[in-house]
């Protein structure tokens, strides 16, 4: 198959060897599970349980709220102990509404009706079941999968692209999943194809995962509609836009969606979740998490119930002393954790406890305009120029230099010899841009209200004046009549 090259990109040390050889293990049930109501892009789910209530594994804990949302299910059987605020897995450490579950130790599944042959069921039922199972993009983006599938059936999709890139350093959860559960992933891919009424899928895997490639090729054998492709190891290959370019040669138009170029992208772990949901009726209540980093004693790939605390994972794997930094996700695009008392959510693909020598050394110094960032940017931006605009808070100029096109992939900051936190500036500017857009909407709305009031007052004043004029005329007429009489 002919592959294409996206511009830029880097080859950071993958450090996947730390955990790539550890088979997936089941994380023992912790004492408490903390299940946040927001684990997806969109509106938070609404709790559907009462405190003290006993729930079975897979039972609904919270309903989806609106079109862009996802329901949340119980990761094990047990009692609801609290529905209250708890720290979210976000650098701010701000709290979010969370259901606290105390496992009863039985890990007893709820009963689900299963289709005899899912390929016999009407295609639209696939998206429906995926929605009911609370499946979101498992690569980290956490966009509700059913919304993506629902959109896909109405559009001209020519390729279902399954993302097995896993280009973030350290992470090996998708690698292990592909090695160990290839047949289930392939089944999930076929189910998604059934759901979007289309026959062709490409499974793209970076060529630094030969075992995963082999396993997936073996599992895909006999399915003419599936093709497993080795793509070059190049960060950020796992980014949706870069993968589409590599495999199809097409570029998603700026500001547009993948569907516009006829491609639907799903992560391998998402395909696996679809298989679990439709074949076995199991909602998304657990995921595979890589626990790695220099500060971790036994680096592992664990199958973890959603809501398990990072602290439980670290205690299970052991630490060699205090980690210098704690991350959720990979070191390129992951988020820093304020502390370890935060739960694993649907999008958590890794927990990294890093040692000081693994972290960037040295502080930032002025830009020497070396242009390294321009050479490696996978989008074609000039990060050094963009940074100047972001620093000056000149948002219009920043947009002109491609702020909205920036992926925040961190490639520029990785190569910067001056150690400038470029991505940090861009994310700040994006936040400001969003705030400004919101402010503008607010101002526009206020202006509309003021104008409407003005118009109403004018109308009323006019009506009053007319009425007064009319009365005056009547009075005058009456007087004239009286005078005549």
């Amino acid at each position: 198959m002919k592959l294409f090259r996206f511009r830029g990109g880097i080859h950071p040390p993958t450090r996947k060897e730390l955990s790539a050889d550890s088979a997936i293990e089941t994380m023992p049930l912790p004492e408490r599970l903390y299940i946040p109501m927001q684990q997806h892009i969109g509106v938070p789910a609404e709790p559907a349980v009462k405190i003290g209530q006993h729930v079975l594994k897979g039972q609904l804990l919270a309903r989806a709220s609106g079109a862009l949302s996802a329901p949340i299910h119980a990761p094990t059987s047990g009692w609801v102990r609290a529905v209250s605020d708890f720290t979210a897995p976000h650098p701010s450490g701000l709290p979010i509404l969370t259901v606290v579950l105390e496992p009863d130790g039985k890990d007893e599944w709820d009963e689900f009706p299963l289709p005899k042959d899912p390929f016999e069921m009407p295609p639209e039922l696939v998206a429906e079941r995926v929605a009911a199972a609370g499946i979101v993009g498992m690569g980290g983006a956490t966009f509700p999968t059913a919304v993506k599938l629902g959109g896909a059936t109405n559009k001209h999709i020519h390729t279902l692209l399954i993302n097995g890139g896993e280009c973030e350093p350290y992470l090996t959860c998708d690698d292990r999943l592909m090695r160990e559960r290839a047949a289930d992933i392939i089944d999930g891919v076929l189910l998604i194809l059934h759901g979007i009424r289309w026959g062709r899928a490409i499974i793209a895997i970076e060529d630094n995962k030969p075992e995963a490639l082999e396993a997936m090729r073996a599992a895909a054998k006999g399915y003419g509609q599936l093709e497993v492709v080795a793509v070059p190891t190049l960060y950020p290959m796992g980014s949706e836009k870069q993968l589409i370019k590599t495999v199809t040669g097409l570029e998603v138009p700026a500001g547009g969606l993948a569907a516009q170029v006829g491609v639907l992208v799903q992560n391998v772990a998402t395909a696996y979740a679809v298989h679990e949901a439709i074949r076995h009726g199991r909602p998304l209540v657990r995921r595979i998490v890589t626990v790695s980093g220099g500060a971790v004693r036994d680096r592992r790939n664990l199958e973890v119930p959603i809501g398990t605390l990072v602290d439980d994972l670290l205690r299970h794997c052991g630490l060699n002393g205090e980690p210098a930094r704690l991350l959720m996700g990979g070191p390129m695009m992951g988020t820093v954790l304020p502390h370890s008392m935060v739960p694993i959510v649907k999008g958590s693909n890794g927990v990294l406890a890093l040692d000081r020598p693994e972290l960037p050394q040295g502080g930032a110094s002025p830009c020497i305009r070396c242009g390294s960032c321009v050479r490696v940017c996978p989008v074609g931006l000039m990060p050094l120029e963009l940074m100047k605009r972001a620093q000056a808070n000149d948002l219009d100029a920043a947009v002109d230099y491609g702020l909205s096109d920036c992926l925040s992939c961190g490639t520029c900051a990785y190569v910067c010899p001056a150690h400038l936190p470029l991505t940090h500036y861009f994310n700040y500017a994006k936040g400001e841009l969003a705030a400004r857009a919101q402010q503008k909407r607010k101002t526009d709305y206020t202006r509309q209200l003021v104008q409407a009031r003005q118009a109403r007052l004018e109308r009323e004043a006019k009506a009053k004046a007319e009425a007064a004029a009319k009365r005056k005329a009547e009075r005058a007429a009456k007087k004239a009549q009286e005078a005549e009489a």
Binding site: M333, I368, R369, V379, G410
Partner: protein, 362 residues
Amino acid sequence: MTTPISGPYYHGQRSVRGIMAQVMLALVPATVFALWQFGWPALFLFAITLISAVLTEALSLRLAGKSQRVFLLDGSGLLTAWLLALSLPPWAPWWIGVVGGSFAIVLGKQVFGGIGQNLFNPAMLARVALLISFPVEMTRWTAPQPLFSSGAPGFVDSLRITFGGGADLDSLTGATVLGHSKTELTRGIGLDVSLHDVYTPLDYLFGLSGGSLGETSALLLLLGGLFLLARRIITWQIPVTMLATVALLAGVMHLVDPLRYADPLLHILAGGLMLGAFFIATDPVTSPSSGLGQLVFGAGCGALVYVIRTWGGFPEGLAFAVLIMNAATPLIDHYLRPRVYGRNRRGTPLSYTAEQLGREKE
């Protein structure tokens, strides 16, 4: 420094200091060879230029209230002075080094706000300032007199040359091949005569020729440049287009009138072109940052070098060419940006026809 909330928490471990150190490393072979060629006076001038630059940089940083540890040790000031020293007449008096070194740092770099902020290449700015202010001292060249060879000045004599105003020495009469041929042309003497006995390409390749320290061995400078390319400190765009443009223009003009216009090889090997193409025009701060911009910049430098050498008032035009193109860098960077993913060259989002997308469904 506080932890940024946004990643990456991963770094390629490259540093500004590392880059400067590697550029200086690439300069070592050519510099050592040139110092050996021109003996003690050249060594004194080289040391004086570097020391003046470092001292004035330390003073500037102190006045500006900036960290000396960070900015003095990044090596950028040292590299600037190094490049300047390579562009000076090797037996120039000590004060040329002092004035040049401090001018480069103070007026070439620190007044703009320090590293990364200057519009013009500080070494070339200082060279041009010296050339215009002290034309006599700046155009007195000497033929190579290798260290410890017979006829070469000893240590004490050398001290007199550098510090004692030894400008009346007879040896300081040689002109560079570019200067010599230009002067002869004005007297109506063609290149066939004027270059005879003066120019042998191999001498220029290996560096057995008169000129500034950085005009000696084209070969060693080329090797240093290739090292920088291999280490990805510089990119190919500027050196290649710059050398190619000079060679192309020289080739065309040489075909037109070989008596009047020197052949491309002379233009490439003589003068400061090799140093300029790999070490000076590629200065990251003052050259464009996109590949396309670098192509334009390199071609512009090359064209200007040739035009000034051939039709200008000075025999060598490298410093002027680089400075003029430095001034154009912001403009180049503004207009020549890379194409953005999902957009065409003009910046509008891409649109595909149904055919391009191979839509067969429905």
